[in-house]
């Protein structure tokens, strides 16, 4: 993974010193609440319901075992011994003290980490596929390009006070899109043109929140050397033309929709003409430098399906289930990608204790070249595990509470922290996740239901991505009481779609029984090979709606 040089290190060190001074001036009342607000947000610090929340950047989800150990130590010393991995591959601390944050940032800087631009109206952490670099069907490894974007966006002097937040995601796989590029402010799909040159299909104006939209293609192929000037052109247009009178209409998607993609493209192209080919054009030497950090580890020459693996698969249903759901094909023979699930019943989705983080770090050292990734679905990933060590890892992962074999199933939910922590939330989301986990605890049944994305957000800011869940649950406030609106038909992959609302919202205690009714409709209508989303797309909302609201006699 990327290693800082003296320049990168100096920059994060100066940032820590700057924020220490800003915090001191705020606590001395030299800096007003209002003026400190965007400064602290651009260092990831929110003021939440009970305590501040600090969002630590995990650039494109890559973590070393040492970094994860440092994070574990920080949660123990400055927080309550756990953290929450978010859908944007970051880590959130729920209980730090504001006056400790400069010290936390200083500790992070020692392991080449920071909380820069994890919040605020600026360019946020760039995200990508958690399987980057280890799957067979990717065009190229997207991580060098993510690092290029990270450096370009970090302390970009022109774009620190945009109309609203700005999120970029990169995908390099044609068969699937685990980075959800169509629902980002800018989505980049890496591709090769007919001449074999690398470039990006650029999608703009996607996003969730109050007005969910699937993005539109603004350029079919931007050569990779032109990426930064093209991004500058898009964001320069947005910075000047995006709405600033209403924060709910300030995202780039609203500008693109209001102007129309053709008109928006004209403005971007006009801007780009001035800067294309100038100094920000990326030279081959920089691609080479960045790629040098993402070379293959020392893989052994192995073969697929070693005897230890096949014997255990035949012998243990529990292992076979875990293998089927929680591991994924690796590009190298004899290796496998393993997801350590953070969806254990009784634990909030995406939460990990300090002990789990340390265990995860140990597993990374022992089984996966000392590196991990954080996934958009709020799990941890060991990307390079030898197949002949899977049984051993499975045993250890079970012990550590990491082996819930439900990846991609109904209970592998995406869930925001909700009203238990977040000041913005209309309703709690974690108790909904727990209710669903408790109700749907029969693994045979979950396996029979198969792939279903269920996403929960505690308010319409949509941090739990409910719009793109096959089933989405949104917390709403009805005269001071917490209710939940259910939507169906969303998807975040290449076939991205925004879910539609099922009907009137439900009380908290009704959710599981409603989900059960939706599952019953699916089971009775599905054909042999249909996933939930396929059946929904074929038969439509009506039968589900009828079942969900049928009067009980």
């Amino acid at each position: 993974m990327y290693q800082y040089d003296a320049i990168d290190q100096q920059l994060v060190n100066e940032r820590v010193a700057q924020f220490r001074d800003q915090t001191r001036r705020y606590l001395n009342q030299e800096l007003s609440e209002q003026e400190f607000l965007p400064l602290r947000l651009q260092n990831g610090l929110y003021v939440q319901r009970y305590a501040p929340m600090l969002r630590i950047a995990i650039p494109y989800g890559m973590l070393s075992s040492d970094q994860l150990r440092t994070l574990a130590g920080i949660t123990r010393r400055y927080d309550k011994g756990y953290g929450h991995f978010s859908t944007r591959q970051n880590l959130q601390l729920n209980w730090p003290k504001l006056e400790d944050v400069p010290d936390i940032l200083a500790e992070l800087a020692q392991v080449q980490m920071h909380a820069t631009q994890t919040s605020g109206n600026c360019i946020r952490n760039t995200t990508t596929d958690q399987y980057a670099g280890v799957i067979a069907d990717e065009v190229v490894d997207p991580r060098p390009y993510c690092e290029l974007i990270r450096q370009w966006s970090t302390f970009h002097p022109e774009f620190a006070f945009l109309p609203r937040k700005f999120k970029i995601a990169v995908n390099a796989t044609e068969s699937s899109d685990r980075a959800a590029v169509q629902v980002h402010d800018i989505g980049l799909q890496i591709k090769k043109n007919d001449a074999g040159e690398i470039g990006f299909k650029v999608i703009v104006g996607g996003g969730l929140g109050r007005t969910p939209m699937v993005g539109l293609t603004i350029n079919e192929f931007v050569p990779r050397e032109d990426l930064l000037t093209y991004l500058d052109a898009i964001i320069r247009v947005y910075n000047q033309k995006g709405r600033r009178d209403n924060k709910y209409k300030a995202r780039i998607k609203i500008l693109v929709k209001a102007m129309g993609i053709d008109e928006f493209r004209k403005l971007v192209d006009a801007e780009w003409r001035h800067i294309r080919g100038k100094e920000s054009t990326v030279p081959m030497s920089e691609f080479t430098r960045l790629q040098s950090f993402f070379t293959e580890p020392n893989y052994e020459t192995l073969t697929d399906n070693p005897e230890t693996l096949t014997a255990k698969l035949a012998d243990s249903t529990g292992f076979a289930r875990w293998f089927e759901r929680n591991t994924f094909a690796h590009k190298k023979p004899g290796y496998r990608i393993v997801t350590l699930s953070l969806k254990k019943p009784g634990q909030a989705p995406g939460d990990a204790t300090a002990e789990q983080m340390e265990k995860g770090a140990d597993f990374a050292d022992q089984y996966s070249f000392g590196e991990l990734r954080v996934s958009h679905e709020q799990n941890l990933v060991l990307a390079d595990v030898r197949q002949d060590q899977l049984v051993e890892l499975w045993e250890a992962a079970k012990e550590a509470g990491f082996a819930t074999p439900t990846l991609g199933l109904l209970t592998d939910m995406i869930c925001c922290p909700g009203g238990d922590f977040c000041a913005l939330a209309n309703a709690k989301s974690i108790p909904i996740a727990q209710q669903i986990q408790e109700t749907f605890n029969d693994l045979d049944y979950l396996y029979d239901l198969g792939d279903i994305d269920l996403n929960i957000s505690g308010c319409m800011n949509a941090c739990g991505h409910h719009h793109v869940g096959n089933i989405g649950i949104l917390g709403v406030d009805k005269k001071g009481e917490e209710f939940y609106q259910i939507s169906m038909g969303g998807s975040s992959g290449h076939d991205a779609s925004i879910g539609k609302i099922l009907g009137p919202s439900f009380a908290q205690e009704e959710i599981s029984s409603v989900i059960q009714k939706l599952m019953d409709v699916y089971v009775s209508h599905r054909t042999d090979e249909e996933r939930f989303i396929d059946t929904f797309r074929r038969i439509g909302m009506a039968p589900f709606k009828e079942a969900a609201y049928a009067k009980v006699n």
Partner: protein, 158 residues
């Protein structure tokens, strides 16, 4: 006399920031862009013009900017970042070499970024302590991107 920070020093502000359409224009005035456009023959030689957030730089196409010692850019709110792009366009697109002055509601902590996009003068609102603001008058000592002062990104300088 009001003071301002220019090129890293606190100096006397010798210009007058004209914010309405009625104040008589003197040769040391910084005039609203729209008013200058409408009345430029009558106004004659002035210290400069200023651009409000939302006006953009398009209206300066074809204007000889060397006649202005100062171009001001107003921040109606310090979170309104449009002026960052305007300054950069003035330097990089219009090749304007004179003073670019931040006006209105911006905060001392923004000087680092403002300097990098091409501002070199800061006329803070009266409640800002300029001595303290001067302590924050610098950007980080390294930067990844090119900017108005050095167009080369770090990858051309590493």
């Amino acid at each position: 006399m009001l003071k301002l920070i220019k090129n890293g020093k606190i100096i006397d502000n010798e210009q007058i920031w004209i914010q309405d359409n009625d104040t008589p224009i003197t040769s040391n005035a910084i005039v609203p862009l729209a008013r200058w456009h409408a009345e430029q023959e009558a106004i004659g030689k002035v210290a400069g013009i200023w651009i409000d957030a939302g006006e953009g730089t398009e209206q300066l196409e074809g204007v000889d900017l060397t006649q202005f010692a100062v171009i001001g850019i107003n921040f109606p709110a310090f979170t309104d970042g449009r002026g960052f792009s305007y300054a950069r366009l003035l330097r990089e697109r219009f090749n304007y070499q004179g003073e670019i002055r931040a006006l209105g509601y911006f905060i001392p902590d923004q000087q680092g970024y403002l300097l990098r996009v091409g501002f070199n003068a800061f006329q803070f609102n009266a409640d800002v302590d300029l001595e303290k603001a001067l302590l924050l008058h610098k950007s980080f000592s390294v930067a990844y991107q090119g900017d108005a002062n050095d167009p080369r990104p770090m990858f051309l300088r590493r």
